[in-house]
């Protein structure tokens, strides 16, 4: 009996892609909101030109999360952007899921080449610091400790920002 060889089409990781999409929305709105209130983020993005775009993309075909600097804040562009001035790639769905859930910090992810950068490396370095601020505002210290090299101090202002993000910021991006 002859053996039949046919092309194999692997499935789609629907659950993980859905989780990543949801976290991208939460993170994008958190960035939009935090960039209006957090002084350190404002300082980090102050030197970026108006209209500067940034994209987080899971390789090879998304999901995507875009941000654009407008009027000294980062505006969440959802998945509208497909190209940007600075693009941060997650190498595959598994890597993105691990980083977004958050089981792994960005420094570790860069070290393990699960994330890579296309564009200006100086701005990318500044962006990783803003990411640390947003993550440490969103998550409690026992989680953040595993994700970052140094946990930023949870000042009274930043604690207020955490409450703001969970009540208004993430819902409305304000």
């Amino acid at each position: 009996m002859s053996v039949q060889y046919r092309p194999v089409v692997p499935g789609i990781k629907r659950f993980k892609i859905l989780v990543i999409k949801i976290i991208f929305i939460v993170l994008g709105r958190a960035f939009q909101s935090a960039s209006q209130h957090d002084e350190e983020i404002k300082k980090e993005i102050s030197s970026w030109r108006n209209g500067f775009t940034l994209l987080m993309k899971v390789m090879p075909d998304g999901p995507y999360m875009g941000l654009e600097k407008r009027d000294n804040m980062l505006e969440f562009k959802g998945s509208k952007l497909k190209k940007a001035d600075l693009e941060i790639y997650f190498r595959n769905v598994e890597s993105a899921f691990m980083i977004m859930t958050p089981q792994m910090g960005s420094h570790q992810a860069f070290a393990e080449r699960r994330m890579s950068i296309k564009g200006d490396l100086n701005i990318a370095t500044a962006f990783t610091r803003t990411l640390v601020i947003v993550m440490s505002t969103l998550y409690p210290e026992f989680i953040v400790k595993r994700l970052v090299k140094r946990v930023p101090p949870l000042t009274f202002k930043r604690f207020g920002l955490r409450i703001w993000l969970y009540t208004i910021g993430i819902l409305l991006g304000r």
């Binding site: 070290a111 393990e112 080449r113 890579s116 296309k118 500044a126």
Partner: protein, 394 residues
Amino acid sequence: MLPSYYEFHNPVKIVSGNKALDNLPSEFETLGAKRPMVITDKGVSGAGLTKIFIDSFASSGMTIGAIFDDVPPDSSSEVVEKITSIFRQNKCDSLVALGGGSVIDTAKGVNILVTENSDDLLEFSGAEMLKKPMKPLVVIPTTSGTGSEVTVVAVISDVKRNLKMAFTSTHLLPDIALLDPRMTLTLPPKMTAATAMDAMSHAVEAYINLQKNPMSDAYAVAAIELIRKNVLKAVSDGNNSEVRLAMANASTMAGIAFSNSMVGVVHALGHAAGGICHIPHGVAMNIFLPFGLEYNMPKCRENIAKLLLPIAGADVYARTPEPRRAEQMIHYLIELRKALNDLCGLPINLKQAGVTEDHLPEIAQAAMNDPSLIMNPREMDVNDALVILKKAFE
């Protein structure tokens, strides 16, 4: 302990040894290239190295497409564009970089433009912006320090737009790194010392930072040991071919190590100090290295301690109690700096290098956006940077 995950990549063929240069025509034949263009600088030509290069092609049946020997000390996009047009006019098909860091970066820049058929380098600035395999590139280092002959990086200034463009891509890796001791024999003592400490900083930072892996560790340790055994001889007896070849190998090994595990705060501060106060890169590395290690000690004491073996030798390592090895490693590094300072006047602090104290805050601020910080074990903020700079000042 093995990292939970790592990658290591080095496809560069190393051609090393006595009269290695004479094998270059056959290497080009293997690469399928017939008309290489040589990129070098006046210093290299003046030292007679270009002539040695041309002589190595005698009776090979190959034609050298063109020789450009006017690369400035800081590679610029204008020079890259000029060389690109010469490459095209002379129908060259491959490149030779004969020189130090600036020449090698310039050759990588030219390779980007001729491969991508473009006239604007800025389009390709950043990480992983290059998609096409490049033209064959052979690098013949005339200094032993940058490691550029085996790295994925090039830095080129755009004078018109006042930008420093960084390029990182695996496509930038040369095909061949050719190490011939004749190419470094004429390097002056102070530059020999500075470039050696640049190589030392590559190996040490590669060994302690977040992307370290067993492969990069092996190259880093071997490089440090070679530098320890040969650097003082290379500075005091520059005509010693054996020692020069050892230093060239150390530099290449350190380059392979850091190209796979990146560098850290020492380089971030060195790039910033170089940009603002124009300190030569090797001098900056020599100044900052012990202070960078002290700063990182709380996060990687064990790794620093392990480096006592290659930097001080087996006897010292064996008789030093384990809890004191990290401090002793830094001590031996400082002793090496002192010896180099005595031998050739290599500066050991920022004041000696001509930096004034009022520049320190600006250097600290500039260091904060250096991508080298991403892989550093400890998160450095601007206040930490200023503390390190003050320690390194005098």
